[in-house]
Symmetry: D2
Subunit: 345 residues, 4 copies
């Protein structure tokens, strides 16, 4: 394990926001009912529901891949498939978790990581033949795997199309805080609760030790969800440790404040990079940015900073991924930009 | 959520041992590599391996059902099945998690929750027909779901039989600390590492917030285990929080001290109950005991204490399950016995 | 492959009823639409529906295990399970086919191979806990794997219980002809169509080269069944060869005539055996009988006749299984009884 | 079901080659052991093995999708995936059969329906990350879904690459007869047996009523294959009806003669079409051809002839698929060409 000046590898290099650790300490020895049936989880759900303004069901699980496989396998009959962008997490980086539950993931090429009505319609059109799988769910992520985010109208259009065409709309919110906390976002949690069938609110990448809140909006998808989670190994015995964390995150707007802070540091980076004449692979206002640098510079940067090389752009340049989080410091951003400046000049 | 004088429902009503919370706090803002590839996890593995004295592979996951489904599905071809006692956790209380990965669980009636060479041999004998599933793995738990535990010789016999008959031996160690910390146990972690193919060391029920350590002893079962865990949704982004916890548990013998403490409080209860003339469903030296009480007394006790009614014994009496843990206090045990004394007299 | 005087191993040792081969020949070079969308299949379905008097959907597939796994996996959500007698084909002799689709098979001990309301109720009662699978389907077979058969009232009671308790009732009709053609049967195809959610009419064991007719009575289970069959590898390209066979079987009552003939030869055997003082493991009026003979006699019989030893009864005797079919001849039965008589005396 | 002058929809519109029906009739009432353990199946296997010159294991199953899902699920661990051309049958037209067994199908765009070393290498290279599925099998078909076929050297290169990179090579031989019987094919059954790990010899599309012969060449993949087939519902009770058919097909070179005949009629069509100035979507010497015609002409042809419209080429023209078989007559080809000539002029 290499020691870096700073790691921009991802938004889960640190532990939890201090308020969360404090709450875990304060409640530590108080006995609670297991499996998420405790009062902390109940309180957390209530606070989330106040923002959703729906009568959704909420369940807390450990991680994002787990949430995705639990939710999607729960809504699909065996021959039904889920549509996602070719960069979608379930298509690329979950080691076939969805297929392991028996379902095909149909991918659609998408430069900006987003799906549109037209992209989905094309898939539906080409899967009429009864010898093919039947598309039944649509997977989107916000923010997406390439740092972009959806506007309200885009989700509304997707939702309308899905309703008319009898498709479920599922939103992976691993980085929902960052997606909703962008300067130009007009989306709210309450919109998502109204427009999707199931989505999850990511905790791991936004200040929790671990934990994602699955939100089931479609009443037809609520039944027996406890058993669904249990069967997939997603039920935590000490469920209260998830409830406590979300209770803290949804107190005093902390969840969105942390998202905002992550975005802010990404913006510092973006501005600094643009000042140096750097261009970007995608247009991101969220906490993931993809600057394009020469391979020589990348190699030098890698000595001191942690980050992934995302993709080769041409013979001499590549896009790298820099991820900020609620824990990123001004100093680390400044240090990175200063070091880069030296390399560029 | 009812308020009890004390809950004996299970060994996961409280949070973590204070030393664990302290370690999580101290390391909280130090950046670490994700997915368990951090230095804390490395240190924890090293400490565990020192006790195992094998070159096993170790992986940390969130919970017991998750560990069971990951390990068993990883070692079986589609038509292969796992044998377990009829009280086995995978057969009863995992909502079909093993079957959801495609495998039959073959159950064998067993009064004391344990398997023996003869019980397994009978299953092997009756599954020769190629129209049947092929038994390939044997699932045991220590301590068992009914509070009993294995002696070294018993595991040796099972291991010998399995090796000769080309079966994998898998041990569910959700309550391994309690099982190994009994007065009369002659089993050590190092024995289990030598005698089983895979087992897991339970953290959730012995002082961790969450976490189980999967130990792969059989070299043939090691390959690509990272992908196996990822696919089943068991890979934690912030893997360090599992590593840190096991690092603490395996420092200064804490893991076994906690097991001993849980057993001690169960013994207090057992002694007190025997003094009142109470008999037991199974012969337990671990942290789960199953006293048989009259239904009237049970009803009265339930007003103040939390516990499960395990099974009906006859028209008038039932066995209840009382579970102690590292967090159980002398006071709560005394209070329970005093209250019971009043009810009995 | 040993040469026997006669094989009573099963009811699929011969090919097809001659009328079926004739129909296959006559239609052989006439082009037909694939996948069961041909006119022969349409005609066969119409003839079956005339007997059912329902608006059921009908699909033809190749074999019984295929029919079982297709139908059951189609009606169950991932955490749902199917209840069957411990002798049920899906529990014993399908190599874990149901589990391979992700579902637990819950077995209930049953001496006579049949299920009753009470046996099912017990399972439902003990599976209320949300940590367990949820029983959702009931599997029965008629005739059963041990030669018994259901009366109308028995199926009515099962059906009532299932409806009230929100369970699907599924009937495996591999040997339905024999079951319905018994002297004392008051069940008709039309009853089964009304009382079950899905069942299948077995062709393979009653005169067809291969083929089972899946009948879906519950309208909620009809949707997308073509895709269901395709996904499980059950869709035959030349679907017409199944349609043609069922068209012949359901012309002039041939299906039931063949069942009657099979039963008749079993009755000849039974009567002859009883005359020799032989007792039976189960009380069968169908084409499978289970006489109990001394191991010495069994060994002698095996030199000339093919049959399975079903189970050990005591140290000296075992039950064997003798199966007759539409193709069994009077001569073979007489020969067997004569040979046995010589051995007994 | 529309009545056509002739249907070129596919190569399974008719029944069986007359010699097959004759053999089924002649052996009809002779008792045989079930499940493919009969003497006819043994004889068929021997005849096939004489051509393979390997000690492969052979099993007969009902259809192609069944063969594909049985073989691929048998060779893959849960996180392993299969690579195929984007036109591959398992990727498009099996309703997610492979995914239903838990495995991802990774598709590679390929104009001519074939895979090459380079196409596979690219997939392997981009799947090194342990968060992704691991490519482990390569699926090819010969002839392919778009009428092309492999030369010996192409398969040798694939085989070499697969061996070096620890991948299994699997060949779908639904139309193997046609593929091998082309004028320019230098491939033999014996080459395929040496160069692939498993393949199947298609019967359904080349003169059988139904049936495919799975050939397992890699000794590591042979174990417990009976159970594998049984579990997936692929085991036919009257296995002899498959054995008898392959025994006939592999007597006096009938299998290849039928393939040759199918190809010959496709060539008649191709020549006739080329004479009319028609161009083709792919370069096919097999029994599937893809002429490009104006939509107006296609519409007219559809009144009298059955065929699929394969894909839109531009606004005014589309490629159609014409399939010939062993049963196609000179008259039907001539009639089609004459009718087309009238439409063109």
């Amino acid at each position: 394990m290499k020691k870096y000046k700073y790691s921009f590898f991802n938004d889960y290099s640190e532990g939890a926001h201090p308020l969360i650790l404090q709450a875990l300490s304060e409640t530590n020895l108080i006995q609670a009912t297991g499996y998420g049936l405790d009062s902390y989880s109940a309180s957390a759900k209530e606070k989330i529901l106040q923002q959703l303004r729906t009568d959704s069901d909420i369940f807390f699980v450990s991680g994002g891949t787990q949430a995705n496989l639990i939710c999607l396998s729960s809504m699909l009959r065996p021959f039904e498939a889920v549509i996602c962008a070719s960069s979608g997490h379930i298509a690329v980086h979950e080691a076939g978790a969805i297929e392991a539950t028996g379902h095909k993931v149909i991918t659609v090429p998408s430069k900006n990581g987003k799906l549109s009505k037209d992209l989905i319609a094309e898939v539906v059109l080409t899967h009429q033949d009864e010898h093919m799988v039947k598309p039944k769910a649509v997977f989107i992520s916000n923010s997406t795997e390439v740092g972009t985010h959806y506007k309200l109208q885009e989700i509304e259009e997707l939702s309308d199309y899905c309703k008319i065409n009898n498709l479920y709309l599922y939103l992976d919110g691993a980085r929902l805080a960052s997606g909703l906390a962008t300067d130009d976002s007009d989306l709210k949690l309450s919109n998502i609760a109204t427009l999707t069938d199931i989505f999850y609110i990511g905790g791991t990448k936004n200040g929790a030790l671990l934990g994602e809140a699955i939100v089931i909006n479609n009443p037809h998808l609520k039944s027996e969800f406890f058993r669904v989670i249990k069967q997939r190994g997603g039920l935590l015995a000490k469920g209260k440790i998830l409830g406590i964390q979300f209770d803290v995150l949804f107190t005093n707007n902390l969840y969105f404040e942390l998202g905002k802070k992550a975005n802010l540091h990404a913006k510092y980076l973006t501005t600094g990079l643009k000042d140096l004449g750097v261009s970007f692979l995608t247009d991101s206002n969220t906490n993931q940015i993809f600057p394009i640098l020469s391979n020589t510079i990348i190699e030098s940067l890698q000595k001191d900073y942690g980050f992934y090389i995302w993709e080769k752009v041409d013979m001499d340049t590549s896009a790298i991924r820099l991820v900020t989080s609620w824990a990123t410091t001004d100093e680390s951003v400044k240090m990175f930009l200063d070091d880069l400046k030296r390399l560029v000049n």
